[in-house]
Symmetry: C2
Subunit: 324 residues, 2 copies
DNA sequence: AATAATTATTGAAACGTTTCCAAAATGGTG
DNA sequence: CACCATTTTGGAAACGTTTCAATAATTATT
């Protein structure tokens, strides 16, 4: 493996000059550049990225910290984030936190030790106090009070749209199906939108929330159906598509027909929701735009420029399916 | 930010000693170690990972190169791979190739420039000739003739099981639904297993293959239904769950009922297939085991040990749903 | 107590870049 | 052609670690 010095010697120039050629600095004479380029080719030289990172004391790595890449919404987001990062010459490090605060902290530590250039974080736990302010961060779906920019979709309006669409489909006793999380997240605005719209419409509604039923769907929905029985719910707005799908699954097992007996709207618009039967009606998040916006914002920060906006909310829209 | 030398000075020892303490080398007197540890704590010293990588000329990064993280099968795989890598102290770089040979090559180049410690590749294109033999590689689902170990599931037996299950469900005119790819991949054995079992059972069958209908499902299935019409197919084995789901979707639009008119079996056992309605019967791949095995194999290679086996095939099993 | 054997420690060198100051080459002007 | 201004170049220093040969300290043996 040849290095800068080898190239410099072969080309009969100094190492500085070779370095300037590689980095496309201006002040190098065309004739010199040619000589260097020829030497590079002859030696089959490739710059040692690690040495560069070392000298510059920063890597071209950006970390994506999220609960689980297995989640279809996150995997779509990750897809676009990686694409955008690659265009900009950065590499993506993937970190699954499992939503556990300890693991999130562990990753933050590890990432700052590894001097990543920036972090894109989807964290639902309170890690605010322990943020390493050295490293640029963009948060997705969660607003920190510090100067960490946040990219999210317009969850509030999404909630209102969902309620309104349920209403249009004839629903008069709507329910919101959510999960309890310990800290405030932008996704909670879905509930707020739902409530505000229901009240605007003068409707009675149920809010049903329990801890995230990752491992215990049956218990979650079992409890819900007990509540539901005596309320005659005829419409459900679930906080995510997966929630909605699981609800439909359980509802059908209870002899409840969707959409005849109960209309359902989800949130996210994950790809597979078009393969669910009935096809899920949902509030589609602009995933691609969220991804690219987050990356751009992060890179702006990395290049040392200030971020004007604190929170960026990208519009959502209703995607009709067969459940409304 | 303090460095090794600062610590050494404060502790009144040489830099080498500090280095040995950090790396838990043996030969360091307890009393010295204590002094060093105290200095580290006092200065709040953290080792500079980049400098380490530089000195060692290798990173603790492992790349996962796959067509698209958006695909639910891959995202599950990636989840477990990241988990296993993290346990072993490695970080995961994610690379979406889009299945494009040019992009795959581009990533291979980039990764070797970045001196990643190893690569886990899911590539369906022929990149064999351009493999950088410097970097340890483990291939998933694709066997290279060179000494690149391959981890896959027992696709052949999976195909046989699928056909047998269709038969048990009463199918007598089965069809295989696949995609054409340019190079040989282990997944093609699914077809072979299907064929062999069908012939063992003395059944007539249809093999239907066209280029992967990523962008043009309608055309793909439209054509299939034209073929299908005059053959009275009553069972379908689709090469992936997503294929199966799309088939069911289209079949229902053509007034074909699943499973009454046609039984369907998929392959993969992706999480969401339990949310499809009807719930998909499928051949479940041991994703977690495949992930962990691949990582272990790669790390074995990285530590310089030879790999005995050339291809590792992990058993699959039938997961009954509502489509058979 | 002297010597040998072992264990522990030191600090310079090296890894491959980028950067920066000084020096050299070039170009323009009177 | 001599002088100054500008452009281009050379190469040492520095980034923070690991490693290794040399040296110092400790322990064991007689």
């Amino acid at each position: 493996m040849s290095n800068l010095k080898d190239v410099a010697e072969l080309a009969g120039v100094g190492v500085g000059t070779v370095s300037r050629v590689i980095n496309n600095q201006v002040s190098v004479k065309p004739k010199t550049r040619e000589k260097v380029l020829a030497a590079i080719k002859q030696l089959n030289y490739v710059p040692n990225e690690i040495a560069r990172n070392f000298k510059m004391q920063k890597s071209n790595l950006i970390a994506l910290l999220l609960p689980s890449i297995w989640n279809p919404f996150f995997s779509e987001l990750a897809y676009y984030i990686e694409d955008e990062l690659d265009r900009e010459g950065y590499k993506l490090i993937l970190c699954n936190s499992g939503g556990k605060p300890a693991k999130e902290l562990y990753y933050f530590d590890m990432l700052s030790q590894n001097k990543v250039a920036g972090i894109l974080g989807i964290t639902y736990n309170d890690i605010e106090s322990s943020l390493d302010t050295e490293i640029p961060i963009v948060s997705i779906d969660r607003h920190f009070s510090k100067s960490v920019p946040c990219v999210t979709s317009d969850n509030y309006t999404g909630g209102r749209i969902a309620m309104r669409e349920l209403y249009k489909a004839g629903v008069r006793k709507p329910a919101f199906l959510g999960a309890i999380t310990s800290v405030f997240s932008e996704t909670m605005l879905r509930k707020k939108g739902f409530i505000d719209e229901a009240e605007t419409l003068g409707l009675d509604y149920i809010i049903y929330e329990e801890p995230d039923p990752v491992l215990d769907d049956l218990k979650y929905f079992g409890n819900f159906f007990k509540v539901r029985e005596h309320r005659e719910v005829d419409g459900v707005f679930a906080i995510t598509d997966l929630f909605a799908a699981k609800y439909i699954d359980q509802a059908q097992k209870h002899g409840i027909r969707v959409p005849q007996d109960v209309k359902v709207i989800g949130f996210d618009g994950i790809q597979d929701s078009t393969l669910f039967h009935p096809i899920l009606s949902t509030i589609r998040q602009p995933v691609e735009e969220m991804a690219r916006t987050s990356v751009k914002l992060l890179l702006t920060q990395i290049s040392g420029n200030a971020i004007s906006q604190d929170t960026i909310r990208i519009p959502v829209h209703f995607r009709p399916g067969e459940t409304t």
